[in-house]
């Protein structure tokens, strides 16, 4: 049995289940309660669970993320919501200098079982302070895990897995995915967070991507298939630690790798993936690893400019064709 739900509803169901099953779990963040969540993810939860467990916070990212760390140290299992990744920079000190360091710095004495959820990504004309994709940047940091659910099942299943993790986990929900509809099995629950998934099989090239770009990659693969080019599409799902085996094995079969990443190219996640392919499966390659990333600009507001700044199906198709044509 399955049912049709939105990505938003899948996340809400996961939060709701956690609140019901574990008295240590609570949700806090800006506008998660009375407003129902900036993206309406937590709508109805305040009414159901009350203000002790659905906590509206002041606009004080640093203290409510730090309080999440402290509460986790004190035996709770907090879910902290930050409206968007851009705002998370106001709490970057707590995430980098405390959450990620405490276990190591204390010689293994203090683990921080904290989950931080935040919206990420562009495509909604929200301009340069609400649209960036900094998950790859967080994936740079040892001591935290970085998850990026692209599918309804992952939106539903990554949160319970994250809450079971003894260490800090950041979940990046792409704001353009909240309205995505899809089938979810009646008994959907926790999913594995330690591996990438092959979302489409193919033999001619491997497209490595994650989050909302997955759908652009899948559409591109459909179009390429009409030309007889069979692209394999890999959804990374977890950006730290990277499941490199899945994409290395794929590239060893297809001999071509194209990374599609909504983050910026310079020093980004796409650079890391490209480097690992060079280091570990270089002699399987028929040509250089290629990348389709966001243009190196702060995200513009005007739609035509924003579209041009983001990876698109067309740019993926063009790059893939060029790679295959090259031989």
């Amino acid at each position: 049995m399955s049912r049709t739900v939105t990505y938003r509803e899948a996340v809400r169901e996961a939060i709701r289940e956690a609140l019901i099953e574990d008295p240590r779990v609570f949700l806090m963040g800006e506008d998660v309660g009375a407003y129902g969540g900036c993206f309406a993810v937590s709508k109805g939860l305040l009414e159901e669970f009350g203000p002790e467990r659905i906590r509206d916070t002041p606009l004080s990212e640093s203290v409510f993320v730090g309080a999440g760390i402290g509460a986790a140290l004190g035996g709770m299992r907090p879910i902290v919501e930050i409206m968007t990744v851009n705002f998370s920079l106001l709490a970057a000190d707590q995430i980098l200098n405390t959450a990620a360091t405490y276990l190591h710095m204390s010689g293994g004495q203090f683990n921080v079982p904290l989950v931080i959820r935040m919206a990420t990504g562009g495509g909604k004309q929200l301009a340069a302070q609400h649209s960036h994709s900094l998950e790859g940047w967080y994936a740079h940091i040892p001591g935290i895990k970085v998850l990026s659910p692209a599918t309804i099942a992952d939106a539903r299943g990554m949160l319970p897995a994250a809450l079971e993790d003894p260490d800090p986990v950041l979940i990046f929900e792409h704001s353009s995915l909240y309205n995505l509809k899809g089938e979810l099995s009646q008994d959907a629950g926790k999913v594995a967070i330690d591996r990438a998934e092959v979302r489409r099989s193919g033999k001619d090239l491997t497209i490595i991507t994650y989050s909302a770009s997955l759908y652009k990659a899948l559409e591109a693969a459909e179009e390429l298939a009409r030309d007889g080019i069979e692209a394999e599409v890999i959804d990374l799902r977890t950006l730290r630690p990277l499941d490199e085996k899945t994409f290395l094995d794929s590239v060893a079969r297809t001999h071509r790798a194209l990374v599609v990443d909504e983050g910026w190219r310079s020093g980004g996640l796409s650079a890391e993936i490209s480097a690992r392919i060079m280091e570990k499966t270089f002699f399987d390659l028929d040509g250089p690893v290629e990348r389709v990333c966001s243009a190196e600009v702060p995200m513009p507001y005007a739609k035509h400019l924003e579209d041009a700044a983001l990876p698109q199906k067309e740019t993926v198709v063009a790059k893939a064709r060029e790679m295959v044509r090259r031989g």
Binding site: S60, V63, I69, A72, G74, D93, M105
Partner: protein, 325 residues
């Protein structure tokens, strides 16, 4: 608590333990046994010794990078502290933290945090966990007056008052944020009024007088425990030594330091005790000898300590399932 002989001797000894540990640390730094940053609290001993007895073993402590005194007064052994500064695995953080990052689960000592203001939100969260789990605990959060300029101070004051969280905010005002005098960094110098503006009960005490610190901290901790509301206590103190071992102290005069040294919290208490007939020379010598022995033993322990094997370098980036609590 009335000042009887035993209590007076206890306070004196606790402050001397910190003083001698710090002096030894400075010496060992000079001998290259301790490296990195080393921030000494010589002159500020009355803060740790006066404040920490006001909380219970099950309570939590959050501290700063100038935390040797807090750690020792909280009950972490001089052995574990010195071994940590030596970078040995017998240290209280296995040599991963060093002087600025002493941690101890047994005494709920949540670390020296070396980001100014960074510990306050953690303390707020620990108190939130206590509140949500209906524990009648107090979280004691030490920070310097320099942290008052950080946004995290104000965010933490606001949230802890708004949510009524049991935190004792212990602000050690030693007048200088590294080398920046309070008057050169704050538009309003009255720290008590800053906390009070958030609806937090706030008080100030002479941090060179351990008896006054003890009394004020006891009242503040009791208020936190009874009302569940945070309290702010400014403890006016002075650092006799440089900020760190790299500080040439260009920002204050020798005369100023000498003036403050006349108010040494240890000698002040010793004078008071002997004036009241509660301390004689043989007693003082006996205490000094006991402390000296403890510190010598700690040095020996640190010297004999072992280095963590290199294979362990990447341990504790993620929890090991077997050690998760």
């Amino acid at each position: 608590m009335s000042l009887d002989r035993a209590h007076g001797h206890h306070l004196l000894k606790e402050m001397l333990r910190i003083r001698r540990l710090e002096e030894k640390s400075a010496e060992l730094y000079g001998a290259m046994k301790i490296r990195g940053f080393l921030h000494l609290c010589i002159g500020e001993e009355a803060v740790a010794v006066g404040v920490l007895p006001s909380i219970r073993p099950e309570d939590a402590v959050v501290s700063t990078y100038r935390e040797h005194g807090h750690a020792l007064a909280r009950g972490i052994s001089a052995r574990a502290i010195l071994a940590e500064m030596y970078g040995k695995q017998e240290g209280c953080s296995r040599g991963r933290g060093g002087s600025m990052h002493l941690f101890d689960r047994a005494t709920r000592f949540y670390g020296g945090n070396a980001i100014v203001g960074g510990g306050l939100p953690i303390a707020v969260g620990l108190a939130l966990a206590d509140r949500m789990q209906k524990r009648n605990s107090v979280t004691c959060c030490f920070f310097g007056e320099g942290a008052v300029a950080e946004g995290e101070f104000h965010e933490s004051m606001n949230l802890s008052a708004l949510w009524r969280l049991p935190v004792l905010f212990a602000c050690e005002n030693n007048l200088y944020a590294m080398g920046t005098a309070l008057a050169r960094s704050e538009s309003v110098l009255d720290l008590v009024s800053k906390a009070a503006s958030y609806g937090i009960p706030a008080d100030s005490v002479d941090g060179m007088d351990v008896l006054q610190v003890e009394e004020a901290a006891r009242a503040a901790a009791a208020s936190v425990r009874d009302t569940g509301m945070p309290c702010f206590l400014e403890i006016r103190t002075y650092r006799f030594r440089a900020h760190s071992m790299f500080d040439p102290e260009l920002y204050r005069s020798k005369e100023e330091v000498e003036e403050w040294k006349k108010r040494d919290p240890i000698e002040g208490l010793a004078r008071l005790l002997s004036d009241r007939g509660l301390l004689d020379d043989p007693e003082r010598r006996r205490i000094e000898v006991e402390v000296e022995k403890e510190i010598a033993d700690a040095v020996e322990f640190a010297e004999a300590g072992t280095l963590e094997p290199l294979e362990d370098l990447t341990r504790f980036v993620q929890s090991e399932r077997s050690t998760v609590r």
